[in-house]
Amino acid sequence: MISPILHFLFRHLIKGPHTMRERIAPDPDGLGELVAALERAARRRLGRSLSIRAVDSGSCNGCELEIHAVNNPVYDLERFGIRFVASPRHADVLLVTGPACCNMAEALARTYAATPAPKWVVAMGDCARDGGCFAGSYAILGGTDAVVPVDLHIPGCPPTPKQILSGLLALLDTAGR
C-alpha cells in the first residue's frame, strides 16, 4: 500500500500547482494580468530576488492574515522571487502593518536601522497610512511615517491579496528605477 503522504504528494504533482487551477483562481478582475506584470517586473528589476521583512507596529492582525494569504499556494508570492525573511538584516523591504503604536516605535525604528540600504518601506493597510480608525488615540503616534520614512502605501482594511500584489508591483517599478 502506498503511504498517505506519498498519495498526497503524487496527487498534487499530477494536478499541478494551485496557481494554475482555474477553479480556485477565477480571473474576473484581472488577477492574471497583474500576476504576469509582477513576474516581468520582478525578473527585470531584481533578477528574481526581493526580500521582505514584515513588521507589525500595532496591527489588529487582520493585515497579517492577508500577508499569510499571499504566501499560500493560491497566490504563491515566492514564485516571483519575493520572499518573506526572518531578519531585517536580510531584507530589502520592510512591510509595516498597523498604526505606529507608542510601545512599538523604538522596535520599529531599530528594525529599520538594522535593514541594510538600499531599503524601502511599504506601509500596508489604512492604519499604516494615518492610524486608520485608531487615529487620535493617546497610544499611537500616527501612521508608519511617524517613525520611519515610507516609500509606498497599500490601501485597504485589510488590503486584499490582489491589492498587496499590485502594491508590490508598484514598488518594483519604483525600486528598479
Binding site: C63, V74, N103, M104, A107
Partner: protein, 506 residues
C-alpha cells in the same frame, strides 16, 4: 451562613443598578467587595472579565453551579480596590493593566509592576480623571529571576522571525530546556477603550471590529448583542441566523489555518500549504457572499449589513461539500505521520487544574478538560435550535489542541449545513431605539469567550465600552505549558495556543 450561597444570593445585599441587561449589575461597598474577593477564593464562580472606569471597578462573574451571570461594581473614589488577583491568578495582569489605564490601585496584589504601560505614552494613567505626566525615560522592566548553575537567558522579540504579532518572551534555559518563560506584552496597545469613550455608534462599531482582526465577527457580534441588550432591542430571526453563519465561517477559517500553521512549526510544511488553500476557499466565499474576506463590519447593532442571496447559499453548500472532503483527507494525513505526532503528542502540556484556576476557555480549555462554550452557556440564538457537539480532551498537549480544532471544524460544518437548510426569511435588521442603558454581550469566538460591556447614552453615543479577549486567561498558561520543554518547541506550543496579541493589548 457559610456553604453553598449562590452568586445572586450573595449579591442580593448590594444595590441593584437599573437598566443593565440581560444580566443584573450590583453595586457593592468596600466591605462587601472585600467579602466577595474572600468568597471567590473557594466559590465556583468564574471570572469572565474585569475592567475599570475613572472612579469605579467592574467585574463580570458566572456562577458555575446555576449558570447565573452578574456584573459587580465597586465605586472607587479613593482610587484603590481590594484586588481579585489575590485569589484569582487570572486577574493579576488585568488588574495591573487597570492601574496602568485608570489609575486604580489593586490593593494586596503581589506583582505591582506595570503591564500595558511601557512608559512611552504621552501621559500615565491615560483614562483616569487626571492623567499624569510621563516618566522622563521609559523605566526598565524587571523580569522575574531564576537562579541555578548553567542557567542562561534568551530574550526574544518584540519583533519575531515569522509574520506574527509583536510580544517579548524572556526564557531562562538550562541547555535546551526551558526553566522559566516570562511574557511581556502590551506592544500593540492602541488605546481602544479611550477611542470608545463618547464615541458615535458607527465609529465604535468600526473600532470594536478591529480589536483582534482574526475575531472580527466575534467582537462585532458581542458588541452588537451588548448594544441591543442595553437598548432593549429585538432583532429579526434571519439576522440571528446570518450572524451565526458568519461566526462559523470565521471559526472554520481560523481553525483550519491554525491546524496547518501548527504542523508547519513542527516542520510539516505541506499541511500549511494544504490548509492555506482551504482557508482561501472560505474567505473567498465570505467575499462572494457578504463582500468582505474577513467579514469585517458585516454585523452591526440592530442586525447584519448584508443579506445572503439564494445563489450565495447554494454556492456555499457546494463549496463546503468539497471542503469537507479535503479537510478530512488532510486530518487523515496528520494521523498517518508518526514523525509529526511525535512532535505534538506530550508537548506543551497544560494541566486541567491550571486551566480551571485561570478560567481559560476556547481550544486551550477544551483540550484540557474544561468544556465551557459560550454558545451553550449562557447560549444565544440561534444555537439553542442547532444540534452540535463540543469536543473535549483531557491531555492538554499540542496534539489535543489540534484535535479540538479539527473536531470544531467538523461541528461548524454541520452547523452551517443546518443554517443553510433552515434559514428563516424576512428582514435582516431593525432601527435602534433611542434610549439609554447598559448591556453585556457574551459570544464564543474561535479562540474562546469574547465579552463586551457597553454603556449607551440616549442619543446613541457609546459612553463607555470594554472588550475582553479570551487570551487574557490563556497567555499565562503558555508560560506554564512550555516549562520543561525544549526552546525549539516554543513556536509549536505558542502556535498551538494562538493567543491574540492585539486582543490582549487592545
Amino acid at each position: 451562613m457559610i456553604g453553598n450561597v449562590s452568586l445572586l444570593e450573595f449579591l442580593s445585599s448590594g444595590q441593584l443598578v437599573e437598566n443593565h441587561r440581560p444580566w443584573p449589575r450590583y453595586r457593592l461597598d468596600g466591605k462587601a467587595w472585600r467579602a466577595l474577593v474572600e468568597r471567590l477564593d473557594a466559590a465556583d464562580w468564574t471570572l469572565m472579565a474585569e475592567w475599570g472606569e475613572p472612579t469605579e471597578i467592574h467585574v463580570a462573574l458566572r456562577d458555575e453551579v446555576n449558570r447565573d451571570i452578574a456584573v459587580v461594581s465597586r465605586p472607587a473614589f479613593d482610587r484603590r480596590f481590594f484586588a481579585l488577583g489575590q485569589v484569582r491568578p487570572g486577574a493579576v495582569r488585568i488588574e495591573r493593566a487597570i492601574r496602568d489605564l485608570w489609575g486604580l490601585a489593586p490593593e494586596g496584589l503581589e506583582d505591582q509592576r506595570p503591564w500595558l504601560d511601557h512608559g512611552r505614552w504621552p501621559s500615565r494613567r491615560p483614562l483616569s480623571a487626571q492623567p499624569q505626566p510621563p516618566a522622563e525615560a521609559p523605566p526598565a522592566y524587571r523580569f522575574l529571576e531564576a537562579e541555578g548553575v548553567g542557567l542562561h537567558q534568551i530574550p526574544v522579540g518584540p519583533v519575531h522571525a515569522g509574520v506574527i504579532e509583536p510580544g517579548h518572551f524572556r526564557f531562562h534555559a538550562q541547555g535546551e530546556t526551558v526553566v522559566r518563560l516570562e511574557e511581556r506584552l502590551g506592544y500593540v496597545h492602541r488605546g481602544v477603550e479611550g477611542l470608545l469613550r463618547d464615541a458615535p455608534l458607527d465609529k465604535a462599531a468600526k473600532v470594536i471590529a478591529r480589536v483582534s482582526g482574526d475575531s472580527t465577527v466575534a467582537y462585532s457580534l458581542a458588541f452588537a448583542r451588548a448594544v441591543e441588550a442595553a437598548l432593549g432591542c429585538e432583532i429579526p430571526p434571519r439576522a440571528h441566523w446570518l450572524r451565526a453563519l458568519m461566526a462559523e465561517m470565521e471559526r472554520m477559517a481560523n481553525h483550519v489555518f491554525d491546524f496547518g500553521a501548527v504542523c508547519n512549526d513542527a516542520a510539516f510544511a505541506i499541511m500549511l500549504s494544504h490548509m492555506g488553500v482551504l482557508r482561501e476557499q472560505l474567505v473567498r466565499a465570505n467575499a462572494a457572499m457578504f463582500g468582505h474576506r474577513l467579514l469585517m463590519d458585516r454585523i452591526v447593532p440592530g442586525g447584519v449589513a448584508t443579506d445572503l442571496s439564494p445563489e450565495g447559499a447554494e454556492a456555499l453548500r457546494h463549496l463546503l461539500h468539497n471542503f469537507a472532503k479535503n479537510f478530512r483527507k488532510a486530518v487523515a494525513l496528520y494521523d498517518s505521520a508518526p514523525s509529526l505526532l511525535d512532535r505534538t503528542a506530550g508537548t506543551g502540556i497544560t494541566y486541567a487544574s491550571l486551566v480551571h484556576r485561570f478560567g481559560a476557555g476556547g481550544v486551550v480549555g477544551r483540550a484540557a478538560g474544561r468544556a465551557h462554550d459560550a454558545r451553550r452557556t449562557p447560549g444565544y440564538p440561534p444555537y439553542d435550535e442547532l444540534d452540535f457537539d463540543i469536543p473535549l480532551y483531557a491531555e492538554g498537549d499540542v496534539h489535543a489542541r489540534l484535535m479540538v480544532r479539527a473536531e470544531e471544524v467538523r461541528a461548524s460544518l454541520a452547523i452551517v449545513a443546518q443554517i443553510l437548510d433552515s434559514l428563516p426569511k424576512g428582514a435582516i435588521s431593525v432601527p435602534l431605539p433611542q434610549v439609554a442603558g447598559e448591556g453585556m454581550g457574551v459570544v464564543e469566538g474561535f479562540r474562546g469567550e469574547v465579552v463586551v460591556w457597553v454603556r449607551m447614552a440616549e442619543d446613541g453615543t457609546v459612553l463607555h465600552c470594554h472588550p475582553h479577549d479570551p487570551s487574557w486567561f490563556q497567555w499565562p498558561l503558555l508560560e506554564a505549558a512550555i516549562e520543561g520543554n525544549i526552546v525549539a518547541d516554543f513556536p509549536l506550543c505558542n502556535k498551538s495556543f494562538n493567543c491574540s496579541y492585539a486582543g490582549h493589548d487592545r
